[in-house]
């Protein structure tokens, strides 16, 4: 067994026990990257030199007991929409193909303070817009379980890197399911925390009111430990929340006796793949056998989540992405005449098709005469969805359902029909609209050998409930390494 098959927490323990050094662990990951990147392409940037140098420094800090945390010395991969001082940060877009930030995202800084070694930056859908990691300007990322399939998206690079064991854990971001859906497709675990729990400072915005950074790892224990480290109140982010309940690892308890779990019928209707349905129900049964109380209910409004989401996220994106204009940083067109021509060519050449589609959609719904009909209506829908969840959480501690309607589609299938791709976000999107925490974890393998993921949703600030339920479920099974990691 190679070092990279360890979970982050396991590795940190071995480092602490001096069974493994940080440079050894770093080198193992870098070697895995070298070996598998040709097939997977989960990284935009690999900083071999920087990582090895940093590994030596971190080792010293561990030796002199400056660093003692649960993740000290563990190498990590960061989604390429989080700013890293001195390291290329592209959002997988041509328009940022030369952007080197002068500052580091707060979440990444928190990891570094805890002794993380940054291996590099992971591929993603351009500006996190997409569900397959196929809209990246730097090539598609492939699913380590079957390279003919997509890893999901938009945090496809982070999830594929974890599954392919090119890193010990990764950070992703989730605006409409971008951590949970690719985690499900790649057979790994990911958490989207309550909005405001992790600082967005330094996260290049897609839909500001929905974006959250979260962990991607092999298991629930890692995710809880990582979330504990990256959560912080940050004065630089006005939407950041002061919380005193971020000791998430305290919820790693194998006990769900009496836990009330709601199963929304709306999440098991048309469009859900039979094998996924079966696996998720089986998982629910497992929890029931451990003492949880299951109940089916009607969540309602599920069909409105997708239109509301695409209106709100696109509207915010159309404004957030306005700053990429060739004036200050990033890509600028070669030949142009005057300011407007420069703007037009830079943005036409710099953005990909999916990003342009959403900028146009967002600009349209905000334009005068349409604002009330689309944007305001979407905001009202968002409020109603939040209410519907609020009502459900009066009765249940956790809501259980699938993370995605299917397992990973084949490469090239999704972008042919964007509406179908958007519909694939149906189970994850309302969680962002309501600002809730959600976890996605593996619960089976389908007939094609692809992982199936289930999702547990909690009320605002109730990450501990979903961590507890996920952990209890996980205790009943072994982590499945994908076959690629055994080659």
């Amino acid at each position: 067994m190679s070092l990279t098959s360890l979970t982050a927490v396991e590795l940190a323990k071995k480092i602490k026990a001096k069974e493994v050094t940080v440079p050894e662990a770093t080198k193992a990951a870098l070697d895995a990257i070298e070996k598998r990147e040709e097939k997977i392409n989960s990284f935009v940037t690999v900083d071999r030199e920087g990582a090895l140098k940093r590994a030596e420094e971190v080792q010293k800090l561990i030796n002199d007991k400056t660093l003692t945390g649960a993740l000290a010395g563990v190498p990590v991969a960061i989604k390429d929409n989080m700013c890293t001082n001195g390291m290329l940060t592209t959002c997988s877009s041509k328009i940022l193909n030369n952007f080197v930030p002068t500052y580091t995202a707060q979440a990444v800084e928190n990891l570094e303070a805890a002794g993380a070694v940054i291996l590099g930056k992971t591929n993603m859908d351009e500006f996190a817009m997409g569900s397959t990691t196929e809209t990246s300007a730097f090539g598609v990322t492939r699913n380590p379980w079957n390279t003919e399939h997509v890893p999901g998206g938009s945090s496809g690079g982070s999830c594929a890197a974890v599954a392919a064991e090119e890193c010990y854990y990764a950070l992703g971001s989730d605006t409409g399911g971008s951590i949970r859906q690719p985690s499900a497709f790649c057979g790994v675990t990911g958490i989207k925390p309550t909005y405001g729990t992790v600082s967005r400072y330094g996260l290049i915005a897609y839909g500001s009111s929905l974006d959250q950074i979260g962990p991607v790892a092999k298991d629930v224990t890692d995710c809880a430990a990582i979330l504990e480290v990256i959560s912080s109140y940050d004065k630089k982010d006005s939407t950041s929340l002061k919380r005193d309940d971020t000791d998430f690892t305290s919820a790693l308890v194998d006990d769900v006796k009496g836990m009330r779990i709601g199963i929304p019928r709306d999440y098991f209707g048309d469009g859900l793949d039979g094998e996924v349905k079966e696996a998720v129900f089986a998982a629910a049964k497992v929890l029931e056998e451990k003492g949880a109380v299951l109940e089916e209910f009607d969540l309602s409004l599920v069909e409105y989540a997708i239109p509301a989401y695409y209106v709100i996220a696109s509207a915010e994106a159309s404004s957030n992405l306005a700053r990429f204009d060739g004036v200050k940083y990033g890509y600028r067109t070669g030949a142009c005449e005057g300011l407007h021509d420069m703007y037009k060519k830079t943005r036409s050449e710099g953005f990909g098709a999916e990003v342009k589609r959403r900028i146009m959609l967002g600009s349209f719904v905000l334009s005068s005469g349409y604002y009330d009909a689309y944007y305001l209506k979407a905001l009202r829908t968002k409020a109603l969805i939040k209410q519907a969840f609020g009502k459900a959480f009066e009765k249940y501690d956790v809501i259980l359902g699938p993370a995605a309607p299917t397992t990973a589609p084949r490469l090239g299938e999704s972008l042919l029909d964007p509406i179908k791709m958007y519909l694939g976000d149906i189970y994850t999107i309302s969680v962002n609209l309501a600002g809730l925490p959600g976890i996605s974890l593996p619960c089976g393998i389908d007939g094609k050998g692809l992982p199936i993921g289930m999702q547990l949703i909690g009320d605002c600030f109730k990450e501990k409930n979903i961590i507890r339920a996920a952990y209890a479920f996980e205790c009943t099974r072994e982590y499945r390494h994908c076959s690629m990691t055994e080659e």
Partner: protein, 477 residues
Amino acid sequence: MMSKQYEMVIGLEVHVELATKTKIFCSCSTAFGGAPNTHTCPVCTGMPGSLPVLNKQVVEYAMAVGLATNCEITRCNKFDRKNYFYPDNPQNYQISQLYLPICRNGSVEIQTENGTKSIGIHEIHMEEDAGKLIHDEWGDCSLVDFNRSGVPLIEIVSEPDMRSAEEVIAYLDKLRMTIQYLGASDCKLQEGSMRADVNISVREAGTTKLGTRTEMKNLNSFRAIARAIENEKNRQIDLIESGEKVIQETRRWDDTKEYSYAMRSKEDAQDYRYFPEPDLVPVVINDEWIAEVKSRQPELREAKLARYKEEYGLPDYDADIITGSKRMADIFEAATAICGKPKKVSNWLMVETMRLLKEHAMEPEDITFSPKNLAKLVELADAGTINSTVAKEVFEKIFDEDIDPDEYVQENGLKTVNDEGELRTVIGQVVKDNPQSVEDYHNGKEKAIGFLVGQTMKAMKGKANPAMVNQILKELL
């Protein structure tokens, strides 16, 4: 010959740069005149991933201005994004307030020929300033300086209640004075810390329907504003009289050519796609906060004017001039507190200070001398330590360099000579050297004594006690 009578309907949009030390959404300095792009950070240069954090002081200044102009304060404040592309705007959107401005439904009173008039304030909202573009003619390119990007502004939108250039100036003067007294801004039109856009339409006198309005920009002084209004009024009347239509458009005033030209018409008006700023949370203002800001409100001009007359016995004229500038009033009070001679301090401000300001083409706000040194000068002159001629000379030094008058008089030996023996010797010599003048005096030419006094002063280098010189001269003659 104009057959019909017309009246103007004027409304103003006034932008005021607030006097906060740091910018509205980051902690960069707002200081004016730094080297380009030295007061910048990821937030005010629109770097990816940066986020705005509201400066509370901006809210307090906006509240203070709103309270002083009788506005209702909005309890739940939100910010909105105004989207437009321009290189001086690093995010390509401006954070402003559209839907819920911080202040609404206010008014101020102005004095007009026909007495007091109330001008309505539609709203006051908070927003960020843009950077500055510098067009390099030689290099055939444009450069951007983001030092001003993110400097806090309030925009004060009046109701269309003004009817003449005089009323506009009176309104602006009232706003400026109020805001200066609050310490919320220095309101300098030339430096751009106060900027006014004027919306003007004309209609036949006696009618109530509003005419088509134009918006005039680039008005950098009260004089330019007055001229632009008169010019635009005539332009619109000419159009109407000749059967043409006034087009709703934005015009730019060129004060050197005394002419305005169209910048853009309503048709090419941009759609700003306003929507709530998702990176900021609502600012909730409660009664306690309002009370706190109210309690910190300094004495405004009207109250000060009344108090100066009452407490210091200043004449109307003096009190009016001195309270006409917050800076002058501050100096007056501080100097008076030290020396206890309000009328004397007032005289220095009213006469010599005003003369020197005019001579140097300065505004009262530009005064740099300290009240302490003015107070010392008042004491020196009052005690007869220096005579009035010397005092004026010393004051010029205070005005220019804020010197300490005690030290200056000492170092330059400017004390009045009160030594009778010394004076007698010098005057004796003057009388001896000017027999013609002595004779003239004795022949009844009273003026001749003036010449002799002058000669004595010259001999004494201006430091002689004038009363003693007169007395001794008369004796000796």
